[in-house]
């Protein structure tokens, strides 16, 4: 009896040690992410090189910044006015651009804001739960801000560890960039691998509303396991330019989804008993989700592999300004949005009509009360007359409407 009890105790101890050990591993992995972090935090690194001329002939060559700024161990606030005149439109040859290691980017004003402390005090990664970390970055042209969420696999308790062992999943980085309204043209686009595409098409309000069909991504030169959900084909072609396609082809298993939308409002809310009272608030957004390499077993060296994907994010943020739809595309987008609004208005027509009716009743009641309360008989009479006139007019109007309806 005692033997069996000892055995059980030993087994439990060993299991708990295993859980603790894997948690420690996760923590060191989290710390390795500090390197990844500094990529945003490191303001001192100079802005070198930029995207090269696009593969397609139509795109113009893009500006490249001066490398001389490397000398600036300068303050962030310092304005580099003198260099402006030296900046020229330089075409960077394509082969140079593939040397991603040389590309250091200082891109954002603050990284790691928790909304409470002074900006710039560097709260850094915010821990939302044991397996989820958040980083908010803001202060850049084109976008309101960027929310980076590190969603790790759960390693903090035995039940989760066992369930993750059964599913093949990886740690993910989810990046959501909220754009300024004028920077982005109106379209909804999503590139995702097949499983995520099915899930997003069901969950996301904007994709389910505007992108009814799923197409294979092969026509854009991407691997077969990706699908494209797009409202306007022209927009999909504009977003998936040579550079983006190259990066996705280089890391096909790391890209989970890329979602570009001007009507982003998050996943569908749980439906209450009544229909939604108003359209959800939408913001133009770019959402990216990348799997981290290693399928749950991250190595420090893997962080460097993911860097090009971060640069892809920033490249796309900058590029959205230039992704403009043609006339037909814009018309089609307008039509779609109007249609969605109409459908919504029709759905809520009933409830809105009831509310209007209730309001009218309320007003009438108040008027009557005022008349009764009025002590001066003169005024009372006058108010009653006014009320009578108003009611007569309303009745005449209703009669007219009924005739018209007939």
């Amino acid at each position: 009896m005692a033997d069996a009890r000892l055995k059980t105790l030993l087994v439990l101890l060993v299991l708990s040690l295993y859980v603790r050990a894997s948690k420690y591993q996760a923590e060191t992995e989290d710390n390795d992410f500090a390197d990844f972090e500094e990529f945003d935090d490191d303001f001192e690194r100079p802005y070198q090189g930029e995207s090269p001329a696009d593969g397609g002939g139509a795109a113009e060559p893009e500006r490249a910044a001066d490398v001389g700024r490397a000398a600036a161990a300068a303050d962030r606030e310092q304005q580099h006015d003198g260099d402006d005149d030296d900046d020229a439109l330089v075409e960077v040859p394509v082969h140079r651009s593939t040397n991603w290691d040389k590309f250091y980017v200082e891109m954002l004003m603050i990284a790691g804001d928790d909304g409470k402390a002074e900006p710039g005090s560097g709260a850094g990664l915010l821990k939302e739960s044991e397996n989820m970390y958040t980083l908010w970055c803001s202060g850049r042209v084109c976008c309101e801000g960027m929310l980076v969420q590190l969603k790790f696999l759960k390693r903090q308790d035995l039940v989760s560890v066992i369930s993750t062992m059964m599913k093949a999943a990886s740690d993910q980085v989810e990046i959501r960039v909220t754009m300024n309204a004028e920077e982005m043209d109106t379209f909804v686009f999503c590139l995702a691998n097949k499983k995520s595409a099915a899930r997003l098409a069901k969950e996301m309000t904007d994709i389910s509303t505007y992108c009814p069909e799923r197409k294979s991504a092969e026509r854009f030169g991407l691997p077969a396991h990706f699908s494209v959900l797009s409202e306007i084909h022209e927009a999909a072609a504009a977003v998936l330019d040579a550079r983006v396609v190259a990066v996705v082809n280089k890391y096909p298993e790391l890209v989970e989804y890329i979602h570009v939308s001007d009507q982003y409002s998050g996943p569908k809310q749980q439906l209450d008993d009544q229909a939604p009272v108003e359209l959800p608030k939408v913001k133009p957004t770019l959402a990216f989700c990348f799997n981290l390499p290693g399928r749950g077993r991250l190595q420090p060296a893997d962080v460097e592999t993911v860097r090009p994907l971060m640069q892809l994010v920033l490249y796309m943020v900058d590029r959205m300004k230039r992704c403009k739809l043609g006339r037909e595309g814009r018309l089609k987008a307008e039509k779609n949005r109007l249609r969605v609004q109409e459908i919504f208005l029709k759905q809520t027509h009933q409830s809105r009509a009831e509310k209007a009716q209730a309001k009218r009743e309320e007003k009438r009641r108040l008027e009557k009360e005022r008349i009764l309360e009025e002590e001066d008989p003169e005024k009372q009479r006058r108010l009653e007359e006014k009320n009578e006139k108003r009611e007569a007019k309303r009745r005449a109007q209703m009669r007219q409407m009924k005739v018209k309806a007939l």
């Binding site: 603050i110 939302e128 739960s129 749980q270």
Partner: protein
């Protein structure tokens, strides 16, 4: 586009994309709707399920005097604690811990016999 960029250069250092004036502060999604205490849909519900499960098991363990239920209740409270979000209030977790520990203590006070393990029950 060339003209545009030249014009921009004279006003702002346009090759440096940072704009200190455009900084927007972080608004936690939970702070946006303070009325609804429910978490954002899609967020992890494990902590809540485990909380409820832990309470159920500890009640069963107390009422029916089933010892293993009480132990499972402690386990559920631990899992719920591990999966909880940082800004969840600790009162709920603390109360579930206390409940499960009291379930264990009460079942052993009433019946100090060691718990019968499943493989022993067969022999």
């Amino acid at each position: 586009m060339r003209l545009g960029s030249k014009v921009r250069m004279s006003t702002v250092n346009s090759s440096d994309p940072r704009r200190p004036a455009r900084v927007t502060r972080y608004k936690s999604p939970l702070a946006v709707n303070p009325n609804s205490s429910a978490p954002v849909p899609g967020e992890d519900p494990t902590a809540d399920y485990m909380n409820v499960l832990g309470m159920i098991f500890s009640m069963v363990g107390l009422m029916m005097r089933v010892k293993w239920c009480a132990w499972v209740a402690i386990m559920c409270s631990c899992v719920s604690f591990a999966n909880s979000r940082i800004n969840d209030d600790t009162k709920q977790i603390l109360s579930s811990f206390m409940l499960s520990i009291s379930a264990v203590v009460m079942s052993y006070l009433q019946n100090p016999e060691p718990m019968k393990l499943p493989w022993e029950m067969l022999s």
